[in-house]
Symmetry: C2
């Protein structure tokens, strides 16, 4: 057995059954091994950012890592922006990156570059395997690293000869590191803080938000103690909608976030860190909490958040809250698509059990609150601020959950970073409804430009507008095999989403914003 086959068999035994791939010559022996063993579903991306964005969406919804197959240092680099998002989300992903054969690395061949150095800034674990005999064991170790709490990016660099040489050994799965136990002293302190009611806030993220029973229990703690609850601005996955707890997000805008947190005296953090400004601005704080606020880490990111919630509930005598149903939004009239009309249209259109991909940015900022009363859904958002995750993340989520409709809320400027993801949606016949928020501008940057004190002239604004020429997303989608439609009023938008989610396969709706 060659090294490539031993690696594929090792990973398969460890539970990996999907491989998102953009392979090149140095990965052909892995393509061959995947082909011969038929142990994984292989999903092709036309660009490496699609591969990792899809692996992120898959990992968030499947709760386990996909493998990726990437091509040398430039392939690693192209993959990195969406790995950055996945790393911040703590999504488990196992990257396999081909490299030149070990004997070939002495020569400065055109594609030579330092793959390890390229991988390090965007990975939690990096290893280069050195022989066909080692690649199985290295793969098992990398997989265990990826699956360790709270979820990690593991990158295994595979020189091509370690794949094609004979002598591969299938390795036993290795046990990933589970979440670390919480600290009893921190628990006592948290219980004490909860005794002070409203001046205490629980900031809860990570795995807790993925479990409806746990979020109900968090809401029960708030009911029982009078404390407040918030969630980070963006999360790996958040279960919400009708009958489920609805927690406020820490706002993106610094001023709003400072206002929300102004009278918090103790912040109890469960799988979350203290909220900070997304960016620094002249004259504005980096830290959003008041100086006098006590930061209390009950469960750090790698610690056992579910246990923390259960222990807290037990200590304060809380039971799961019964969440009252919010009224369902009604379909909007045929009005131009203002932000508010956009929110209504989406809230009214979301089907049962949707997966909502959130890269809506400026135009989409109100949709979260507007959809509290919509049917139960999973909400997966861009976590690392590296725009261009939506089209691939939607594809990956659909592959993890083929029976659930995916609704992808997509800013137009961001869509263009990894628009190639539409092709993978078409190829896999994924039930993804992409709604493009078409305002023809990097709207967010116009706000940002004034925040640094600029009084922008024509040439500055020109750097922020993307409507010269206009992007025609319906044509772009057609070019990649995805049917599309352009809508200019909110009623048509709502109906188009309702129609699309019922049909198999992807669709793109270009919503022209007013």
């Amino acid at each position: 057995m060659n090294g490539a086959e031993s690696l594929v068999r090792t990973l398969s035994a460890g539970g990996v059954d999907v491989c998102f791939a953009n392979p090149g010559t140095s990965e052909m022996q892995f393509v061959d091994a995947l082909d011969r063993t038929r142990l994984m579903r292989c999903v092709l991306g036309l660009f490496e950012g699609v591969v990792t964005g899809a692996a992120d969406g898959y990992g968030r919804m499947a709760g386990k890592p996909a493998a990726t197959l990437l091509h040398l240092a430039p392939g690693m680099a192209n993959a990195s922006a969406n790995l950055h998002n996945a790393k911040k989300a703590r999504t488990p992903i196992l990257n396999l990156v081909g490299d030149h054969a070990l004997r070939h690395q002495a020569y400065d061949a055109p594609l030579s570059a330092d793959v390890e150095a390229a991988a390090l800034p965007f990975s939690d674990f990096v290893r280069m395997t050195r022989s066909a005999a080692d690649i199985g064991a290295d793969g098992a170790e990398a997989l265990a690293a990826a699956m360790s709490a709270p979820g990690k990016i593991a990158t295994l660099i595979c020189p091509s000869d370690t794949g094609w040489d004979e002598g591969g050994v299938v390795a036993e799965p290795r046990k990933p590191q589970g979440p670390a136990p919480i600290d009893a002293v921190a628990l006592d302190a948290a219980v004490e803080a909860l005794g002070r009611g409203h001046e205490t806030m629980i900031l809860v993220g990570g795995s807790v938000l993925e479990d409806v029973a746990l979020t109900a229990l968090v809401a029960g703690i708030a009911e029982r103690t009078g404390c407040r609850v918030a969630v980070p601005a963006a999360n790996r996955r958040l279960e919400r909608g009708r009958g489920r707890a609805n927690f406020a997000k820490v706002p993106f805008a610094v001023d709003l976030a400072v206002e929300m947190l102004a009278d918090v005296r103790t912040l109890v953090m469960i799988e979350a860190r203290q909220p900070v400004a997304f960016f620094a601005y002249p004259g504005k704080p980096s830290v959003l909490l008041p100086d006098a606020c006590t930061r209390l880490t009950l469960a750090d990111l790698h610690e056992d958040g579910p246990d923390a919630v259960r222990a807290l509930a037990d200590r304060v005598g809380a039971r799961p809250a019964r969440i009252a149903d919010a009224p369902r939004a009604t379909a909007p009239q045929a009005v131009p698509i203002s932000y508010q009309a956009l929110e209504m249209a989406i809230a009214a259109a979301l089907p049962e059990d949707a997966i909502v991909v959130d890269e809506g940015l400026t135009a989409g900022r109100g949709i979260y609150d507007a959809t509290f009363g919509a049917p139960p859904m999973s909400w997966i958002a861009i976590t690392g601020g590296s725009i261009g995750i939506g089209p691939p993340m939607a594809a990956g989520a659909a592959i993890a959950c083929p029976d659930r409709p995916v609704v992808s809320l997509q800013a137009d400027g961001s869509a263009m970073y990894t628009i190639q993801g539409l092709w993978t949606q078409a190829r896999e016949n994924a039930n993804v409804t992409t709604v493009i928020f078409a305002n023809g501008t990097y709207e967010i940057l116009k706000h940002e430009l004034t925040r640094v004190g600029a009084n922008p002239g024509r040439s500055a604004l020109d750097m922020l507008e993307i409507n010269r020429p206009s992007l025609d997303f319906v044509s772009l989608a057609k070019g990649m095999g995805v049917p599309g439609v352009r809508v200019e009023d909110a009623a048509t938008l709502c109906q188009a989403i309702r129609d699309s989610v019922k049909e198999p396969g992807p669709k793109l709706i270009e919503a022209i914003l007013a």
Copy 2:
């Protein structure tokens, strides 16, 4: 004056007058400074790979660096694949990468990552500036590094407060390091080797190929001594066509390259290194030269190739060769577009003074030889093997040379990595004719798969075919404001190119290969 303005004024004084940009919040003060000073032409890309690919095309044709403006570590990562190509080409580029304000770097904000570490594998010079007072001087040093022989990738990381703080100081331009002198002993040895005629080969690259007089002199040395001449498989820029020297390229395929070099006893290298296999394969050599061949470096990459050529010519008594005109290709018949018909169509269609962008790969491999007799042209090719350079490189070349038609020879799979470059072509009304070689497959990989000994099955081939769904490049182009046409016979293709190059603005021709 704030730091951002001092940097812009410093770079402008050093000769930088174009900035390719994909800015975000942390670069808004640079956008503002560019806006207020009007010292540079700003060109927007929808994706960072477009920005750096365009800067590469610009640098190759302008012979001086453009600036780029990139957004934190993920922006640097997205930019890196085409920086890899530029680094291998030795194209001068100056990257300005925004980062969080220094005071904000202590917090793990969502976009936080190690920008320096991300930049290092794909740069020759990396520095993070530390204050508004320093940013001008750091910019001058980075610019000098970029312009130093043979052309380098310099990356200056600019925390946002170093841009918006007052106290900026405009720095004097610093002198770049010119090419190092050649070695007299090596010159003697090269002259001696040339005395042995046919068994000696000159491998010449770099700046020599950009100078028609120098290439004629190299051809004259060959005439005078009977030696052979070859050029590397891909080069930064190569001046060729009617009346100009025509040198054979070292082939991509290992077997063909080994055959070409089999009886070379001395290889005299001028701004070139010994040719090696692009990839390693089981049972095939990494080194293409025979063991017994003497490797003689007359001018290394950073040394003075033009001086080496002149000195050699002087010593052997050579004069510039008079190059006989080759017959011009005639327009092909209306036949299906085989590789041969493709070569004929392009050879017959190329206009005077074209810039040919070569990312044609498998289908385009014969076009170089076929266009020897075409009108004089500049030939700029993908150098680092990181596919996805064509659309942006063509845009950048057109911006450097607005009066010259650009003909971009583009494989279909590769086109999809940085297809967003079409939008920049449209926005800048660049005279670029993109010819897509549409075969619906990563053709090159099918050959590679068999070279590693695989007997591919359906699922392996599925990873190499991109025609499910078919890519429709005419729709993709339309989506980005570029008019397109699909052609299925060689005569129509030839005429479409001829028509397009005469018109201003971009056009895309999707050539369906037989």
